[in-house]
Amino acid sequence: MNGQLEIPQIPVGKAFAASVDWLTQNLGFAFDLIGGALGTAVGALADFLAAPVIAGLALVFGLLGLALRGPKVGAVAFAVALGAGYLAAITQVPPSLVLTLAFAVIGLALRGWKFGLFSLVAFGLIDAMGEWQAAMETLALVLVASLVAVILAIPIGIAAGRNDAISRVVRPVLDFLQTMPAFVYLIPAIFVFSVGVVPGVVATVVFSVAPGVRLTELGIRQVDHEVVEAGEAFGASPWKILRGIQLPLALPTIMAGVNQIIMLALSMVVIAGLVGGGGLGSAVYTAISTVDVAAGFEAGLAVVILAVYLDRLTAALTNRSAVVRAQAAASVN
C-alpha cells in the first residue's frame, strides 16, 4: 500500500450475470415457452410473406375493406382478392410480385394513389435488388416484435397515465431501457434464448417498448381534464371513462407511440442480425465483414423502404381516428 485511498470495487456486472444465470436455471421453462412462441410466430409470418397463401391474403383484404368501408366492401375485397390470387397462381406470377401489388393496394386504400404508386415502385425495387427474401424475414421480425411491444407498452402506459405512483416507478425503468446501449441487450438475450431469431425479437422489444409507454402515458395525461371530469360527473365508471373518453382522445398520441415502436424496431433489426436474426440485418452484417459496399447499400436501402412504408401507413391509420377527423372537420368550417 502506498497510502493511496483504495476505492472498493462493486461487482455490479457479476451480480447481474448471476441473476441472469439464476433466471435461466429456474425459469428456463418459461423462457423456452416465450422463445418457442416468438420463434414460431416470426417463422410463420416469414413463410407467409415468402409464399403467401391465397386465402390468407384474401382474408387480409377482406378485413381491410370491412374496417374502412363496412361489410359490403369487405366482402367484395375478399372476393376480388381471392379471384386475383387464383389467377396469379394459375399464371404462375411470382409471389414477390403478388405481394408487391398487395402492399401497393393497401397503400392506395389507406393513403391514396401517390402512396400506392410509391409502394409499387419501392417494393419492386427491393425485389429487383434481390433483397426480397431478406426484407420479408425482416418485416416478419419487425411486425412480431412491434406487436409484442405494443401489447406491453399500451397497458403499462395507460396505468402510468392514470396513476402517479405507477408513473414514478415506470419512468426510471424506461430511462434505463432507452439509454442502455442496444447491443448490451443481445448478450443476456443470447444467453437465455440462444442464437437465432428469438433473441433478436426480444432485444428489439426491450429496446422499442419505452417510447410506446411514454407516448401512451403522455396521451392519457394530455386528455382535457375537464372532459374526464365530465365523465365522472355523469357517473361513468373508470373503465367507461377509459374506453369512451381517454383512449379515443389519446389515440393520436398513442399511435405516434406505435409509430416510434415500429421505427425503433426497424433500427434494432440490423443489430439483431449480429445474433443470427437473419433477414436484412444479416445481409448488412455480412456486407460489413466482407467490406462489400454494394451489398451493404442495397440491404440498407431496403430497410429504409420498409421504414418509410410502415411509417406512412401508421400515420394514415392515425388520421383515420375519430378525433383527428373531428379536428379536420373543424378546420374546414
Partner: protein, 481 residues
C-alpha cells in the same frame, strides 16, 4: 321573467352573515333541501386534518399555511332549496370551484358533509356515488367538456348512455333536450363545427337530458363573449322558469351572479362571507370586502322598486276634502298627496296648487282633482332601470302598487337617484333633498307623532326613516309596505 320574482320568501328576512344560525332555523322548517353543505372544509396538504382542527379553533389562513397546508374551502355551510338558483360568487382562488366539486363528490371534503336530496353524499362508496350522480346531479363545465369525436346528439345523450338507457330512448330524450336549448337541428354535427355559445348549449342539453334535479354549473358562461353570455343567461332563466331545476351556479362575474341568483353566496379566501339575495347583498353588505365588491355593480339592473321605495308620506282617504289633503302635504312638506280608498287601493294623486284652488272654490271633495294628474304605478318587482323614464316624465313620485292596486310605497325622483349612487346607505339617502317633487326644503323635521308610529319594519322602510309618515286622516290607516 325576472329572477327576482322568485326571491325565496323564507330567506328574504336574512341579511346577516351568521350562516350557522340561519341553517339551524331553516332545518327545522324544511326537512329536505335539494342540496345541503354542512361545515365543509377542503384543505390540500399532508397535515390537512390537523389544519381543520386548528381552523375550527379559530386559527386563520396564514397559521394553517405554515403547516404546509393550502386551505381551499373553509367552513362552508348552506342549503339550496328545490327550484332555486344558488350562485356562488368569488374571484379566482376563492375556492368556489373546489366547493362545487365537493357537492357531487368529484372532490372529497377534508371535513364536513354534503347531502343531496336527503342522501348523505360524503362517505358513499365509489359505486354508490356514481349512481347518485347519474340520478341526482349533473354538471355543466366552463370549457364545455364535450367529446370532440362524438356528434352533438351523442354528446347530449352521454349521461343517459352512462345510465344504460336503451339507444332509441336516449336518442329521443337527447333530441328533446337539444330542442329545449334550440339546437334540435344540429344533432348530427360535431361539436367542433359549433360556436362557443352553441357548444355550451350542448353542455346544458347534456345535463338536462340526464334528467337530474340538481344542476351544477361551473363558470358555465365565463368562456363566452359578453353578448353571447347575456343571451345564455336569458336562456337559462327562461328554461329555469319552465323546468324548475335546482341550480348551483359558480361565477366570478358579479353582474351575472345578480342577474341569475335567487340567492348569492359571496366567497373570499375559501370562506363564505355572506349569503343573501342580490338586493340584500347590495343594500346590506356583510363587510367591507363585499361592499367594495358590489360598489361597481349596475344597481339599476339589480335593485327593484320594492327595495328603493319609501313609505308613502302624504296619503289621504277618498272621502277626505281638500283641506285635509293640504294639511297633510304641509305637515310632510311635500307637494302632492296620494289618494286611496278603504282597502288602500290607489285612486290617484292631488297636487298642492290644484288642491288649494279647489279649496278656494269651496269644493268639498277631491274627486274632481284626481283626473288632473296621472299617477304612474309600478309593481314592486320592476327593476330600477325601468323606473328611470317614467320617473323623469311624471311630476309626482312613482307609486308602487301590488297586484290589487294597493299602495305599497312611493319612489320619489331623488330616492331613485340616491339608490343608483355608489354609497347607497340609508343615511345618505335620507338626507337628500327631494327636488321639484316637493319644491320645499327637506331640512325640516317630520312631525314627531307620525315618525314614532313607524319603526322601520323592512328594508324599504329603513330607507325612508327620516321622512316616513302617513297622515292619519279619516279612515286611512298607516300604510306599510
Amino acid at each position: 321573467m325576472s329572477p327576482h320574482e322568485v326571491d325565496g320568501p323564507e330567506c328574504s328576512a336574512v341579511t346577516g352573515v351568521d350562516v350557522d344560525v340561519w341553517c339551524a332555523t331553516r332545518t327545522t322548517r324544511e326537512p329536505v333541501p335539494a342540496v345541503r353543505a354542512q361545515k365543509l372544509y377542503k384543505l390540500f396538504g399532508r397535515r390537512a386534518d390537523e389544519a381543520v382542527r386548528l381552523l375550527e379553533q379559530g386559527a386563520d389562513r396564514e397559521a394553517v399555511r405554515k403547516l404546509g397546508v393550502t386551505p381551499a374551502v373553509i367552513d362552508a355551510s348552506f342549503e339550496v332549496e328545490d327550484g332555486e338558483i344558488f350562485v356562488v360568487m368569488g374571484l379566482s382562488g376563492s375556492g368556489k370551484s373546489t366547493l362545487l366539486r365537493m357537492l357531487n363528490g368529484l372532490l372529497r371534503p377534508t371535513s364536513g358533509e354534503v347531502h343531496i336530496d336527503g342522501t348523505r353524499l360524503t362517505g358513499l362508496s365509489a359505486k354508490a356515488l356514481r349512481s347518485l350522480r347519474q340520478q341526482k346531479v349533473s354538471m355543466v363545465f366552463q370549457h364545455f367538456a364535450l367529446l370532440p369525436h362524438r356528434t352533438v346528439g351523442e354528446n347530449a345523450a352521454y349521461g343517459l348512455e352512462v345510465q344504460r338507457v336503451p339507444k332509441a330512448e336516449r336518442e329521443e330524450r337527447a333530441r328533446k333536450a337539444l330542442d329545449l336549448v334550440g339546437l334540435g337541428a344540429w344533432a348530427d354535427h360535431l361539436p367542433t363545427q359549433l360556436s362557443g355559445g352553441m357548444r355550451q348549449r350542448v353542455g346544458l342539453a347534456r345535463a338536462l337530458a340526464a334528467g337530474t334535479d340538481v344542476l351544477l354549473m361551473d363558470e358555465a358562461f365565463s368562456a363566452l363573449d359578453p353578448l353571447i353570455r347575456r343571451e345564455m343567461q336569458d336562456q337559462l332563466l327562461e328554461l329555469q322558469s319552465r323546468l324548475g331545476k335546482t341550480i348551483v351556479f359558480i361565477t366570478h362575474d358579479l353582474n351575472e351572479a345578480m342577474r341569475l341568483g335567487d340567492r348569492i353566496a359571496m366567497m373570499r379566501d375559501g370562506r363564505i362571507v355572506q349569503i343573501g339575495t342580490a338586493e340584500e347583498i347590495l343594500q346590506d353588505p356583510a363587510n367591507d370586502y363585499v361592499a367594495q365588491f358590489v360598489q361597481d355593480v349596475d344597481r339599476s339592473r339589480v335593485l327593484t322598486a320594492s327595495a328603493v321605495m319609501e313609505q308613502p308620506v302624504a296619503v289621504v282617504g277618498a272621502r277626505s276634502g281638500p283641506r285635509q289633503a293640504l294639511r297633510s302635504m304641509r305637515e310632510h312638506q311635500v307637494g302632492a298627496a296620494f289618494v286611496v280608498d278603504r282597502e288602500r287601493r290607489l285612486l290617484g294623486a292631488v297636487r298642492d296648487d290644484a288642491t288649494a284652488d279647489a279649496l278656494r272654490r269651496g269644493e268639498e271633495s277631491l274627486a274632481s282633482l284626481l283626473d288632473d294628474h296621472e299617477v304612474v304605478t309600478v309593481s314592486p318587482d320592476t327593476l330600477v332601470a325601468d323606473l328611470l323614464t317614467p320617473s323623469a316624465e311624471c311630476p309626482v313620485p312613482l307609486a308602487v302598487v301590488d297586484d290589487e292596486n294597493r299602495l305599497l310605497g312611493v319612489v320619489p325622483r331623488a330616492t331613485l337617484l340616491a339608490a343608483l349612487g355608489n354609497g347607497g346607505s340609508a343615511e345618505s339617502r335620507g338626507g337628500d333633498v327631494r327636488g321639484e317633487d316637493t319644491r320645499r326644503s327637506a331640512s325640516a323635521a317630520p312631525p314627531p307623532e307620525s315618525s314614532a308610529d313607524l319603526e322601520p319594519s323592512s328594508r324599504g322602510a329603513q330607507l325612508a326613516t327620516e321622512r316616513s309618515a302617513v297622515t292619519e286622516v279619516d279612515d286611512v290607516e298607516e300604510v306599510k309596505p
